[in-house]
């Protein structure tokens, strides 16, 4: 349906964006935190209703079914999980969000020929994939499904450098050729970089890394806003990217640690708490 004119759509997206700002503001103060979260969810609901009323969509029954399935999976987990397992749950939700952003970007590859849009596409794919696999490792570590100690092996620094260079190279190839094969390779390399990024982090520092990956997903969502020419995705993603960065630094400071030390300390041979 396209009941709403572009003006009304933009206006409703603005209301959603303001809701998200108020949500972050509320969540920063003990007295208004819960209300802030409710305002945020109201803004998200408004945005979803708006998209159904403003864009001509096919496959609506299938989309609605997917939303029901997603909620049916997430809500019981979110309700039942123990308080001590909250950080890994946030990590898991963050990971699936990053994965969704990467998938949305790769699907737009078939539509666009403009080089700037392709750059935004490869950026979203790479950052989303890093966030997805990095978050998966944080969940494994915090659930103690793997060792919580920093995982290091000889030559890790070199493997990491090669993986980063290879993903940048395949990102350039996707921009130039627009080919699916390079896009799939880029996703795989992004997943590898995410794993390599989180493996050397010790268990005690993992929540800080979850916060960092949260900011990553925000930035990926912002880039997807450029891909889809959607201002709300751009604004909401940027808000999360910026506030997530500040929050990551605040968390690191509260634990008396530096963000670079946590991420790269293990590479330099220094120890991370674990």
């Amino acid at each position: 349906m396209s009941v709403l004119t572009p003006e009304w759509t933009a206006l409703l997206y603005l209301v959603s964006a303001v809701c998200f700002i108020l949500a972050l503001k509320g969540l920063s103060s003990p007295r208004h935190a819960r209300r802030g979260n409710l305002i945020g969810s109201a803004g998200a609901l408004l945005a979803v209703i708006t998209v159904f009323l403003s864009v001509k969509l096919d496959n609506i029954p299938l989309i609605l079914a997917a939303i029901v399935v997603g909620s049916a999976i997430a809500v019981p987990i979110a309700r039942k999980v123990q308080m001590t397992q909250m950080p890994q749950l946030v990590g898991g939700f963050n990971g699936v969000g990053g994965g969704a952003a990467a998938l949305v970007a790769v699907l737009e590859l078939g539509h666009n020929v403009d080089v700037w849009v392709r750059i935004a596409i490869v950026f979203t794919m790479l950052v989303g994939a890093i966030s997805f696999s990095g978050s998966a490792i944080t969940v494994l570590k915090l659930q103690e499904l793997m060792t919580t100690r920093p995982v290091l092996f000889p030559g890790l620094r070199w493997v990491m450098s090669i993986a980063v260079l290879a993903s940048l190279a395949s990102a350039v190839l996707v921009v130039v050729t627009g080919s699916w094969i390079w896009a799939v390779l880029l996703l795989i390399l992004g997943l590898g970089v995410g794993v390599l990024l989180v493996l050397p982090v010790g268990g005690a520092d993992v929540p800080i890394v979850i916060s960092l990956l949260n900011a990553f997903t925000g930035i990926a969502v912002a880039a997807s806003g450029i891909v889809l020419e959607n201002v709300l995705l751009l604004v909401a993603g940027t808000l999360v990217g910026a506030s997530g960065t500040i929050l990551t630094m605040a968390m690191a400071k509260a634990m008396g640690r530096g963000v670079t030390g946590i991420l790269f300390g293990a590479f330099k041979g220094g120890s991370t708490a674990g």
Binding site: K25, L27, S28, A33, R34, N37, G40, A44, A47, V48, V51, F52, L62, I63, A66, I67, V69, G70, S71, V75, A78, R79, V81, M83, T84, V90, F93, V96, G97, A100, A101, L103, V104, L107, G110, W116, A204, V206, P207, I208, S211, N214, G218, V221, A222, S224, E229, N230, L232, L233, A236, G237, T238, L239, V240, A242, S243, A250, M251, M255
Partner: protein, 109 residues
Amino acid sequence: MDPVTLLTVVVLAVFVGFEVVSKVTSKLHTPLMSGANAIHGIILIGAIIVAGQTSDPWLLTVAIIAVVLATANMVGGFVVTDRMLEMFRGRKPAKADTPAGAGTGEVAK
């Protein structure tokens, strides 16, 4: 959208993002992280748009997976944040500063 307008929007959003969370207390680190996490679940509207504009069965399958993942991120994120904050109410004032992210932290009053 022209690039300069785009840049203006991004720069202003970055400053707003920095500003709104600049005074957060360490007890609220985890709920704030969780709330921000739920907000980037807004990628759901992107997933809905791509799912609604493709007819190729393979691409549609990928798009529907993206819708499921994004919904889980958004809905699960808001529910879990609410649960964390619910725990704060009715609790006695916090003992000491809990390490950020370890458990959920408590809020005084």
